[in-house]
């Protein structure tokens, strides 16, 4: 098949220049050295930079060689074909966009709190399992998924994942995929909101600065709408300055006498978030959502750059073991279950995230200028997110381990006070005293850091420690709240946008049954659909907040498995498409990560449903508490019969949901297997790929344009005689 390559002139192999051979050999040697150090050090202190550079060298090699192989050989991206952005340009969703700008857009859309939180929780198993999964996972699974979904959607005019499954696999699979996407989104929103609630509960400083983001965003919205339309950079710069002032101001809430009224219980915060989510979903986007999105995008890029620089400056030493006993025995307090399969579930974003398939189909493919740019945007964007995950893993691994477990273990285990937490943590075999825990809280301006689960507070502790080591100046409390603010900002943006997307999906689907409801400008329809979506995630958020066993402990596995099951649907689709296009020879590129993903998620689903260990299996947990309730017995950490009942209800709901998710994925996979079998028999099958239309646009494929490429592009421009795009 590679002999047909002649249709793509620039792919012809060139003998690599001696300089390129030297450079790539050096990168490979650095990478190999770092991995060797990580593999061989046991029981001695390991510098975080080994992890960082092992990851960076691996990314570079994967991008240079593997993503090129996939784009040119497997997918045969062809720059002579016009992309949907060029063909259907309408200035709204279809729009030819500069590759560097689109990279920013795409990255901002895929990366949020997920890659920050998952690695923090997974650090309970040590730094090594997380590091290996994040790096290997992204190279062979996550980035491959994002790239291939982006490519196939681009070849189909930017169709969504659900649409492609319905048209390319079948109606049954399509409906299953649609239901799965909606349900998974609800769980994801609930867990994200739960992280914010846990970070802000009993923290007047945090509440103060996060609450101020709303008027700041409103101000920016009005500025961009009426005062100076289009001046995004200006408005955002103003917004960021106000944001920093809000963080600094938070430190004074106590002296302003606001501390009491801003100390909110988790339950109050749930109500506030639900009301906020509803209002944000029905307000015009320009007023709140768009400006908040600008703020969070710029903060995201700024903080990540800052974190990378400060890691290199501070060169922190990892405080945890390479692999802890929790990884082997599965009895960790942060989340239950052993390394296989739970590390692969806990770290979703950053290694493999099914949710990205929704961004890679839909928004981004309608903006790609040239086919070959999918490599930079799809594969490159995901590598960048993986780098964020590695930074988060490092930040979580440099904090004192006694502190790590005191912060991340549920209140039912730690007892909630510094004394009980210190004795609990000592019981795990780490050192912690009530004094050190109290001092840690005081250093960051918080009342307490015990059982502040969800990952955000632990990460903020790690980040503030790294920034403090790197820049000095006694600003630890400021950095802590800076980190909390930036995580909360991502999450609230995701909650706003997710609620809106859910609302659109619901209206669209119900519109098939009742036409009027599908009209997106029909006010009552908007209100009802928004209320349903907010109510759905609000329910899970509330159960998570009040769960006696700890909401994160109970819901995070559901979130991770849901996300990976969505990835299974996406990888099933692209594998089916490769086969249907007659490219069986290369189907392993997506089939191998698909099989791996199915094995881990199905094992995890099976354990969460059928395990007879009540710490892992939802139904075993249900039985244990239901039996005790029947005999009038109380099981810790439940304090009364009502809490016992709550555990029974929650574990039933979670168990049922877990089973439904897994079943939906099996339906999609089974439907796909039928199609694949048919395609294999026939050699290939027709697909909904749009016929090729010649492109009149000449643009480079990568970020860096060499002199030779520039000359080739100029020659090509002269040949077809046209449009230079946004390229300088």
């Amino acid at each position: 098949m590679s002999r047909l390559q002649s249709d793509a002139p620039e792919v012809t192999r060139r003998r690599p220049s001696p300089r390129s051979v030297v450079v790539w050999t050096a990168v490979a040697v650095v990478g190999a050295l770092c991995w060797t150090v990580l593999a061989l050090s046991r029981g001695e202190s390991v510098n975080a930079l080994w992890v960082l550079f092992a990851a960076l060298a691996s990314y570079a090699i994967a991008y240079r060689f593997y993503s090129r192989f996939i784009t040119y050989r497997v997918l045969r991206a062809d720059d002579r074909r016009a992309t949907p952005a060029e063909r259907y340009e309408n200035g709204v969703d279809f729009e030819v966009t500069d590759r560097r700008v689109l990279f920013g857009h795409h990255f901002a859309a895929i990366a949020g709190a997920g890659p920050l939180v998952g690695p923090v929780l997974a650090a309970q198993m040590g730094y090594l399992p997380g590091t290996i999964w994040i790096v290997v996972g992204v190279i062979f699974a996550g980035a491959v998924q994002d790239l291939t979904v982006l490519f196939f959607s681009m070849r189909r005019g930017g169709k969504s994942l659900g649409q492609m499954v319905r048209e390319e696999i079948g109606l049954v699979g399509g409906i299953a995929a649609l239901v799965a996407v909606f349900a998974i989104m609800i769980i994801i929103l609930a867990v994200l909101a739960l992280i914010v609630v846990n970070a802000l509960a009993e923290s007047p400083w945090g509440v103060f600065s996060i609450a101020l983001t709303i008027p700041i965003a409103l101000f920016m919205g009005v500025y961009l709408r009426f005062l100076r339309p289009g001046r995004v950079l200006e408005a955002t710069a103003l917004g960021v300055v106000l944001l920093l002032l809000a963080i600094v101001g938070g430190g004074y809430v106590e002296s302003w006498g606001l501390a009491e009224s801003l100390t909110l219980s988790p339950e109050t915060l749930v109500v506030a978030l639900v009301v906020y989510g509803f209002v944000a979903s029905v307000l015009p986007v320009w007023l709140l959502l768009t400006p908040r999105d600008y703020l969070s995008t710029f903060m995201k890029i700024g903080v990540i750059a800052l974190l990378a620089v400060s890691l290199v400056v501070a060169r922190p030493v990892l405080a945890n073991e390479a692999v802890t006993s929790f990884a082997r025995e599965g009895n960790g307090p942060v989340f239950a279950g052993s390394l296989f399969p739970f590390v692969f579930i806990t770290i979703a974003c950053g290694a493999l995230s099914g949710f990205h398939a929704l961004i890679s189909s839909g928004t981004t493919p309608k903006m790609v200028a040239k086919e070959r740019q999918v490599r930079l945007i799809g594969y490159g964007g995901m590598l960048m997110e993986s780098f964020v995950a590695i930074s988060a893993l490092i930040a979580a691994s440099v904090i004192d381990q006694g502190l790590y477990f005191a912060v991340n273990s549920p209140a039912g285990a730690t007892g909630g006070t510094v004394e009980t937490a210190a004795s609990f943590v000592s019981g795990l075999g780490f050192t912690a005293t009530p004094e050190t825990l109290a001092a840690a809280a005081q250093a960051v301006g918080e009342e307490s850091v015990v059982s502040r689960t969800g990952g955000a507070p632990a990460l903020a502790l790690g980040i503030s420690q790294v920034f403090h080591e790197a820049f000095g100046g006694g600003l630890q409390a400021f950095w802590y709240h800076f980190a909390i603010m930036f995580e909360a900002l991502f999450i609230l943006t995701a909650v706003d946008a997710g609620t809106r997307v859910g609302r659109f999906m619901l209206q669209d689907t119900l519109g098939n049954v009742w036409g009027k409801f599908g009209d997106l400008s029909w006010r009552p329809g908007n209100l009802i659909a928004s209320a349903v979506v907010v109510g759905a995630w609000g329910y899970f958020l509330y159960t998570g907040v009040t769960d006696p066993l700890g909401g994160i402990n109970q819901l995070f596995p559901l979130f991770g498995i849901a996300n990976q099951l969505l990835a299974a649907i996406a990888l099933t689709l692209v594998t089916t498409l490769l086969v249907k296009h007659g490219r069986v020879r290369y189907a392993w590129v997506t089939a191998v990560p698909l099989v791996w993903d199915l094995v881990t998620t199905m094992t995890a689903s099976y354990q969460k449903v059928f395990s007879d260990n009540p710490a892992i299996g939802y139904f075993a947990q249900r039985a244990r508490y239901a039996d005790a309730l029947a005999t009038g017995e109380l099981l810790a950490p439940a304090r009364d019969a009502a809490q016992m009942q709550q555990v029974v209800t929650n574990s039933t709901v979670n168990g049922v949901l877990q089973s439904v998710f897994a079943l939906l994925v099996i339906v999609v996979a089974a439907n796909a297997a039928v199609v694949v079998a048919r395609a294999l028999r026939a050699g290939q099958l027709p697909t909904t790929e749009e016929p090729a239309v010649p492109s009149a646009l000449v643009e480079p494929a990568g970020i860096v344009v060499t002199a030779r490429e520039r000359a080739e592009l100029d020659a090509l421009r002269a040949e077809i005689g046209v449009r230079t795009g946004a390229d300088r």
Binding site: D98, A109, A111, G112, W286, A497
Partner: protein
């Protein structure tokens, strides 16, 4: 070293124009001139774009 600063500066200016949609606005002016339409104000152009985009939800991931 001398080539670096101007390059950084022009890169920043380029980024600024991209973020503010300056290129897009100028392209709109050019198109209007070609077709002989009155281009309207920048504010109206941006508002129309924002409203059209609002009808298409852009997802945000975790």
């Amino acid at each position: 070293m001398r080539g670096v600063l101007p390059a950084v500066w022009s890169g920043l200016r380029w980024a600024h124009r991209q973020v503010d949609g300056q290129d897009r606005w100028e392209a709109h002016l050019r198109r209007c001139a070609e077709h002989g339409h009155p281009p309207g104000s920048r504010a109206d152009f941006e508002r129309r774009r924002a409203d059209a985009k609002a009808a298409v939800p852009g997802g945000r991931c975790c």
